[in-house]
């Protein structure tokens, strides 16, 4: 185990690859290594890239990686694609758009399948980021599955979240709906050479004018509501707020990439200069602990409850003898009895 940890800390790509497999498989071998690596994490800046399918996320990741490589930074990329809920298989095709990056030992690209997770990332993506972080990558680009309006895991994971839009995907009302636009630190209208790009840009700007959660610390709690949102009606006039810029890019021509990199840098400087890094990290930790606790508790509960007992309760619900909430109370009471 120590060999693998040392190899990884010394930048062995084979070690990184193998450990990412163990992490994604939730293999028991992974946890002592993650424990050993944890003190070496927390250095990378994690950039999330999300948006609807076909908006050009992978192509933009390709452009961003090249731009950061030009600054001599090491770039790790995690590209997430969906697992089929029916077969458990997946086609991970994001590398197709990243072929410019091949042959560069300063870039490491890993594709991940969601494996049943619905939030736009895999359940193990956070640990995968930690592996790349410990291995010394300065910038970690995390591309979500083609997301819609509720896949907001990325904002609980990344330091800067980019939401990618493209012209012609919907009317202006889409832009003022809740959800994915609210998580953006930077909004990008890609394919800006397409007709309707200006309309999309102005719709997004209008959305930001109508009201943006001022001084929001950008985190979504486990129960799905924004934490610490101060409504626009009660602004703290002395407190600087981050208004997400709306940028236009054409990823296939690498247009607008320099501006995007500089917007990400401004966001990073804003977070750091306002002393927001520490409180944001605390929130991320809190949310992660909640998620892990919930999973561990369910696991524990199901282990201590016999499948027959659960089956019996399910039967009772199906026969309308028990409503689902009472069924849960019953299973919990049974569990308490078992452990006491």
């Amino acid at each position: 185990m120590d060999d693998l940890v040392n190899a990884l800390l010394n930048g062995s790509r084979r070690a990184v690859a193998r450990l990412l497999t163990w992490v994604s498989d939730e293999s028991p071998q992974a946890s002592p290594i993650l424990t050993a690596l944890f003190p070496h994490t927390g250095k990378a800046w994690v950039i999330g890239i999300t948006g609807a399918p076909g908006t050009g996320k992978s192509s933009l990741v390709n452009c961003l990686a090249k731009a950061y490589r030009a600054q001599n930074l090491l770039v790790g990329i995690i590209a997430v694609d969906p697992t089929s809920p029916f077969t458990g298989g997946a086609i991970l095709g994001d590398r197709i758009r990243m072929r410019d990056l091949s042959g560069d030992s300063g870039v490491f690209i890993r594709s991940m399948a969601t494996r049943g997770s619905l939030g736009g990332l895999a359940r193990t993506t956070r640990d995968a980021i930690r592996v790349l972080d410990a291995a010394g990558f300065d910038i970690i680009l995390v591309e979500t599955v083609g997301a819609g309006q509720s896949e907001v895991d990325i904002v609980r994971t990344a330091h800067t979240t980019l939401v990618i839009e493209a012209p012609g995907l919907g009317d202006e009302v889409q832009a003022i709906k809740a959800g994915i636009l609210e998580i953006a630190d930077v909004l990008v209208v890609n394919k800006a050479d397409r007709p309707g790009a200006h309309k999309t840009v102005s719709a997004l700007r209008m959305m930001l004018d109508i009201g943006h959660p001022a001084s929001r610390t950008q985190m979504t709690a486990h129960h799905g509501q924004l934490l610490e949102v101060k409504t626009p009606e009660t602004p703290h006039s002395d407190e600087p707020i981050w208004i997400p810029p709306v940028l236009e890019t054409i990823a296939t021509d690498e247009k607008g990439v320099a501006e995007l990199v500089s917007a990400i840098q401004k966001h990073r400087e804003f977070i750091q200069s306002q002393g927001l890094s520490a409180p944001l990290e605390r929130q991320r930790i809190e949310i992660e602990l909640h998620e892990r606790l919930r999973e561990a508790l369910i696991q524990q509960l199901l282990e201590s409850t016999s499948p027959e007992y659960v089956m019996d309760v399910i039967n009772q619900v199906q026969n309308r003898q028990l409503d689902p909430q009472s069924a849960v109370t019953k299973i919990l009471a049974n569990h308490k009895q078992m452990v006491s």
């Binding site: 498989d25 077969t87 095709g93």
Partner: protein, 134 residues
């Protein structure tokens, strides 16, 4: 926990016919594999690099150009130099029978011609992974 089988599907060489590769990728997905699809015109270096970063269990090559006797040894060599000697290669495409012994001697573990039932490919991969249950 059962390990997910990851397989790289790549098209080396210069021919532009990727329909076969896509059909196979889709069939393998439907069989529950995680398929890393890298697309057309992959160099041996690109294939080895992707296989390394993605830590795949198998590399599947689709070669229709007839250049398999040049491409396969080169890819095997570059993969070996990336410490991927233990990762098997399977091959799909138009491969004359007389080339098969030489390819197998290079460590190609499965050769599938046009029209091969995808179930045959799936069960071959499972057998290679020592997963007889599936």
């Amino acid at each position: 926990m059962k390990k997910n089988i990851r397989i790289l599907i790549a098209k080396p060489g210069l021919d532009g016919h990727d329909r076969g590769a896509k059909v196979i990728a889709r069939a393998l997905r439907d069989a529950g594999f995680e398929v890393i699809y890298t697309g057309l015109r992959q160099t041996p270096e690109m294939i080895a690099e992707a296989a390394l970063q993605e830590d795949v269990d198998v590399v599947g090559l689709s070669i229709l150009s007839g250049a398999h006797m040049a491409l396969v040894p080169k890819i095997r060599e570059v993969m070996d130099s990336h410490e991927l000697g233990d990762v098997p290669i399977i091959l799909g495409g138009i491969i004359p029978d007389e080339d098969k012994p030489a390819l197998e001697a290079m460590g190609v573990r499965g050769i599938f011609g046009p029209g091969t039932n995808t179930e045959v490919i799936v069960s071959k991969i499972h057998a290679m992974m020592g997963d007889a249950s599936a």
